[in-house]
Amino acid sequence: MNLRSFLSRDATLNRVVPPSGFTAILTLVSSGVMAFLAVFTLALAMAAGDLASNWEAELAGTATVRITASDDVLEAETEAVLTALSQTPGVVSSRRLDLSEQLELLAPWFGTGLPLDELRLPVLIDIMETAEGPDRTGLEQRLAAEAPGAVYESHGRWRAPLVEAAGRLRTLGYFALFLIAVVTGVMITLAASTSLAANAQVVDVLRLVGAKNGWITGAFVLRFTVRAILGAFIGTLVGIVAVALMPGGIETGILSGLGFQGAEWIWPVLVPIIAGGTAAGATFLSAGRTLRSAL
């Protein structure tokens, strides 16, 4: 004990709230554990989000227009279709397939030895669509008018449930994240109030020796905030390590989004800050309530 340094206001502010014991551990561990969960959920939500985006981008983007018509109008209708497609919002690009490409498409079904010359093959136009895709009814009406032999086939159709699932996965992830944030707030608030309640005697003595409410509140807010930040920091670190060690870590597979990249790092970095803010707010409010009720 260095009395001279204790007598300085800041040192007292720091010392009056018990530095150890179960109330200290409670705040520390609660915020640590919740931060760990938050980081973990964050990683999962982001992975789910990335996954959903990937699937949407990869799978939702292709369609075909098939044009079957007599030779004299075939080329004209093809031109009309390409023009129509180029003017349709939701279509990224459209391209007529040449003969060899068509052959390739058929290979799974017929092998490569197909006598194509003998067939009058329809013209196939490959379309890249945006995630939302074009307005189908509008497009089909226009095609019916300008190229009666054209049929629009969206390959994305069978993929729709997947895209839907991916989207739902993302929603779930963010919902879970929201949930964890709320729960984290609740737990840290609870820990701070518990600690404060357990330290009723300290508050009592401080009031009796004439400490102002602001000073007492300050002492508790300071201590609990530091503790919550420290706990959350450790929890976040452990969370990041755990995420990195997860099965199917950063390198491989379609869940490669697990782990944080680039700007995503802002989120785990925010966790201790938010935990600290929550603890500060909760302590401030609890202390206010406690002190108001005492005379």
Binding site: V16, R207, G210
Partner: protein, 225 residues
């Protein structure tokens, strides 16, 4: 300095005081006696702003207590020294830190305070226990530490609730001497005690009045104590 005006206090349906009035002028020395449970501690708690009367008014240091803002209460507490019957400390701070607490929370720091603290601890016989924690003190040592804390900031008013309840006679006299000394410096002193010998001893040294609580009423005890 302290004025109670038609104060009534009840707990649940039990009325402790129905109409108590009392004036302690500045610089006066009063003893407060009465049987156990007569309300000595309650009266001191009224004076130290730890509770409010159900009706009536308490005036302290020239101000009416009810309706004071909390910061005002805090400021007034700094001019008030209180020794509680069950002395409360911050258990993880050393005895010296606890005694210095009133100075520390108000920023009254520096060499002078430190010197004063050492002197005070020596005076109450706790120099050797300065670095101990309060739970390690004996009953009498706790009371002395509480007394030291109460006078740390040289308060204008000293309220002492049985400050000699747990100490031997020699130490009681020693503590009485401190109270008298403070009173001679112009401080107002109110000391609750059930030790009539102490009061007798005091009366030969200082012009102290003795208030007797009994059946919810306060009376000034005569010379026939």
């Amino acid at each position: 300095m302290i004025e109670l005006d038609k104060v009534a206090v009840s707990f649940g349906d039990r009325t402790l005081f129905s109409d108590v009035s009392l004036i302690l002028p500045p610089g006066s020395f009063h003893f407060l006696t009465g049987p156990s449970g007569s309300g000595k501690t309650t009266l001191i708690r009224l004076c130290s702003m730890e509770m409010q009367p159900n009706s009536g008014q308490v005036q302290l240091l020239g101000k009416t207590v009810s309706g004071l803002s909390q910061n005002n209460v805090s400021a007034m507490r700094q001019r008030l020294g209180v020794v509680h019957q069950d002395s409360r400390f911050i258990d993880h701070l050393s005895v010296a830190e606890n005694v210095a607490l009133p100075a520390a929370v108000t920023g009254k720091t520096g060499r002078h305070t430190e010197y004063q603290l050492e002197e005070l601890l020596a005076w109450v016989g706790l120099a050797g226990q300065a670095k101990n924690l309060p739970p390690e003190l004996s009953g009498g040592e706790r009371q002395r530490a509480a007394l030291a804390r109460a006078v740390m900031l040289s308060p204008d008013v000293l309220l002492a609730d049985e400050p000699t309840g747990n100490v031997d006679w020699d130490m009681s006299i020693h503590i009485l001497e401190l109270l008298i000394e403070l009173n001679k410096l112009g401080k107002t002193v109110l000391c609750a005690t059930h030790d009539l010998n102490l009061i007798r001893q005091a009366k030969s040294r200082v012009s102290a009045k003795v208030l007797r609580l009994h059946g919810g009423a306060i009376e000034i005890a005569g010379a026939g104590l």
